[in-house]
């Protein structure tokens, strides 16, 4: 599904990623953990194709295709989805309008038929119900005045609607209490499928209690320094990053 090979990325002329390599096969959930400043957010922005994140070396292949030259909207249409750590507020644009624009823009880019208003409403109502998102919330301006939990649920709703092949969850647990996190995790787990992969980026182990990964990678200094199974997270929790990374180094 996703193959990252020797990826080097600089932001404002500063090298952040220095040789990151990672393979995520279809249907698997991989977690990237790392201390502050390790390059976690850079990884997610680079995969989504944000301006200013310059790939200076290495490659990102998604379903065998080179992603580096593609603008963000085309990557999205090909099935890459980034759940933002801090979802943006757009005043005056209702969540419903935004979602419809996104679903149809991707359909257009893929050469598929756009949904009409009735089909779309039916689709979104069904999807929203499962995530405990009220119709009133859909009518409000996108993320404006939403609580932290509502914003993250809105991200999961988008994911459910857009049906990506690869979902990147960037620090999805930040700013959430346990109940909100459980709700979000349930939403994510419901979307797990043999043809869908997840890349869960997080600082803390706690989210991984709810979204159980197949593999865990530790990112430090712009590279994956250690990989392992779920037990690695527990080890980190007990010993801290310094001890675990220190052992590696």
């Amino acid at each position: 599904m996703l193959e990252i090979n020797d990826l080097h990325v600089s932001v404002h002329g500063k090298d952040i990623l220095k040789g990151l390599s990672l393979t995520v096969p279809p249907g698997e959930v991989h977690a990237i953990m790392g201390p502050n400043g390790a390059g976690k957010s850079t990884t997610s922005y680079t995969l989504a194709g944000r301006d200013g994140y310059d790939v200076t070396q290495g490659s990102i292949r998604f379903k065998g295709e080179d992603m580096v030259p593609l603008p963000p909207e085309e990557r999205a249409a090909k099935g890459i989805f980034l759940a933002f750590q801090y979802p943006l507020e757009i005043p005056g644009v209702s969540t419903l309008t935004f979602l419809k624009s996104a679903v149809n823009a991707q359909a257009r880019l893929r050469g598929e038929k756009e949904l009409d208003a009735v089909q779309f409403l039916k689709l979104i109502r069904e999807t929203a119900k499962g995530l405990n998102i009220s119709e009133e919330m859909l009518k409000r301006s996108l993320n404006v005045g939403f609580s932290g939990g509502e914003k993250k649920r809105n991200e999961v709703l988008q994911m459910a609607l857009l049906k990506p092949s690869l979902a990147i969850l960037d620090e999805t647990d930040s700013g959430l209490d346990i109940d909100a996190m459980k709700l979000v995790a349930e939403g994510v787990n419901a979307l797990r499928a043999p043809d869908r992969s997840f890349l869960v980026i997080t600082h803390y182990q706690r989210l991984l209690d709810y979204i159980v990964p197949d593999h865990i990678h530790i990112l430090a200094g712009g590279r994956i320094v250690k990989s392992g199974d779920k037990s690695l997270a527990l080890q980190l929790e007990e010993q801290g990053y310094d001890a675990v990374i220190g052992k590696v180094a």
Binding site: A48, G49, R50, D51, P71, P72, E73, E74, R75, A76, A77, F81, L82, F84, P87, L88, I90, P91, G92, V93, T97, F98, S101, A102, A105, Q106, L109, S141, L142, Q158, L162
Partner: protein, 482 residues
């Protein structure tokens, strides 16, 4: 980034959609302006003697006046003698006639502009008066309106058929000497719409006037008068376009609204005059005086404008809140791109008790454009309980444009509450990226965000036009982000 910029550049190079010229033979008044021209125009319209005297008086006063200079707009001096003050399609005789007699070339023109004049093809529920240069070429649904007593016709026809109404109200909201351009208009106005809604009548359909400048070197000076009698209601919309030309053409209109006790007038404008090219060559100078008088208690006048065109916009649709409990509203979207200059806003004059006004202004500047909101809220000593709320937001796109806010707030009454807020923002890279990462392209994302920014105003437009206006907002800004 560069890829986005390219796409947008391509879009920016698209021509103004309404820039074509209709090839039709026209009759002109001799070029220039003098008393003879004023007599010529009045004669063309077979006006009564008092109307001619009114015009001549205005003309003489105009000669003693000077152009206002306080607006933040900059343009070379206008040579008022280098323009035609009257132009009409030649085979159009003195007055508008039935649709089947209208020159097919004109019908085609309006069809091309998206305003089919045949009643079968029209948007249901919208009556249209089509003004081409200095004359009205057709007014639709007149008969249907007459059934309920609503008069909707060209002003020249109203002068012939209802002279007492015109004489009673014309110039009572915008006096002849109000300002330089209004006085010029009073002397040479050639066409416009007249609306009269009788007591207690709710006008059964939207009324709309579509203004088209076609002839070269010609100014358009229409005059619109709307009277809503006690407890009546009318919603009126105007649209405007002009061909692309290298020259600057003058449009100096006057609009007067009179709302009597309990009446409500909703006046919407989608202004899409030719804005000039990306280097600022050509385009319409839009110097317009619009004012509504809430003459009766509990009356309401609401202005909504979407200003996307014109090289220069100088326009302040205002409300005189004379009647107790009367309400004035001003909802505005002003977009200035490339070299456009817009200086627009409103005046809310609170005279009566418990009068309320609301101003929502959304200014968008892009390219090298200058966009100014200028507004006055004035509360007079007797306006106990007056309330005003003003929100002025500016959105800047790019670092070469300017956004300016010049509000005047004057209160002479301790029982009044006046509130004003203004903000300035840009489309953040984060917002744009968020949209892109969901698969929405740059151009669509900008249109989406800007439409969100303008939503409060767009919601005020009649349904049929809101969709058009939304598209126009997107089109006007093409090429502004990259």
């Amino acid at each position: 980034m560069s890829q986005q910029a390219e796409t947008l550049q391509e879009l920016a190079d698209q021509k103004y959609k309404y820039g074509f010229v209709t090839d039709i033979e026209s009759e002109f008044a001799p070029k220039g302006l003098n008393e003879e021209i004023v007599r010529f125009i009045s004669g063309k319209k077979n006006e009564p003697g008092w109307m001619l005297e009114w015009r001549l008086d205005a003309y003489r006063r105009w000669l003693t006046m000077t152009e206002p200079k306080w607006a933040r707009v900059d343009y070379p001096p206008i040579d008022f003698q280098d323009s035609y003050y009257f132009a009409a399609p030649k085979n159009d005789s003195d007055k508008p006639k039935n649709l089947d007699e209208v020159d097919p070339e004109l019908l085609k023109t309006y069809e091309k502009l998206g305003i089919p004049l045949s009643e079968q093809k029209m948007l249901a529920g919208v009556a249209v008066d089509a003004v081409f240069d200095s004359v009205s070429v057709a007014t639709t649904f007149k008969a249907k309106l007459e059934e309920v007593g609503v008069i909707f016709c060209p002003l020249s026809e109203a002068l012939a058929k209802h002279p007492e109404l015109v004489r009673k109200y014309l110039g009572t909201v915008v006096p002849v000497t109000d300002n330089y351009y209004a006085t010029l208009n009073s002397a040479v106005f050639s066409e416009g719409s007249f609306v009269y809604v009788p007591e207690g009548v709710r006008c059964p359909m939207e009324l709309s006037t579509y203004f088209r400048i076609n002839a070269s070197k010609t100014g358009q000076f229409e005059r619109t008068l709307i009277i809503a009698e006690k407890n009546s209601y009318v919603s009126y919309l105007e649209g405007c376009t002009a061909p692309m030309r290298d020259e600057n053409q003058l449009h100096a209109a006057v609009v007067e609204l009179v709302a009597l006790e309990g009446a409500e007038i909703k006046y919407s404008t989608v202004q899409n005059w030719y804005p000039g090219d990306e280097n600022g060559k050509g385009g319409i100078y839009n110097f317009v005086t619009k004012r509504g008088d809430c003459r009766g208690a509990n009356s309401k006048i609401s202005w909504t404008q979407v200003e996307t065109g014109s090289a220069i916009t100088w326009k302040y649709p205002s409300c005189i809140l004379r009647g107790d409990n009367s309400v004035g509203e001003f909802y505005s979207i002003a977009i200035a791109n490339n070299c456009q200059q817009a200086d627009t806003g409103t005046k809310m004059i609170h005279l009566g008790k418990n009068t309320k006004s609301r101003i929502i202004s959304k200014g968008i500047s892009a390219g090298r454009a200058q966009n100014t909101y200028r507004g006055l809220v004035s509360v007079h000593a007797k306006a106990d309980g007056a309330r005003n709320f003003t929100q002025c937001d500016s959105l800047l796109m790019g670092s070469r444009c300017g956004a300016h806010t010049v509000p005047y707030i004057e209160s002479h009454n301790p029982g009044a509450i006046v509130e004003h807020e203004a903000t300035t923002s840009k489309i953040s890279d984060d917002q744009l990226f968020y949209c892109l990462s969901r698969g929405i392209g740059t151009e669509e994302a900008v249109a989406l965000i800007v439409n969100g920014f303008c939503r409060e105003v767009l919601q005020q437009l009649p349904m049929e036009f809101a969709v058009e206006a939304q598209k126009l907002v997107g089109i006007s800004l093409e090429g502004s982000v990259g």
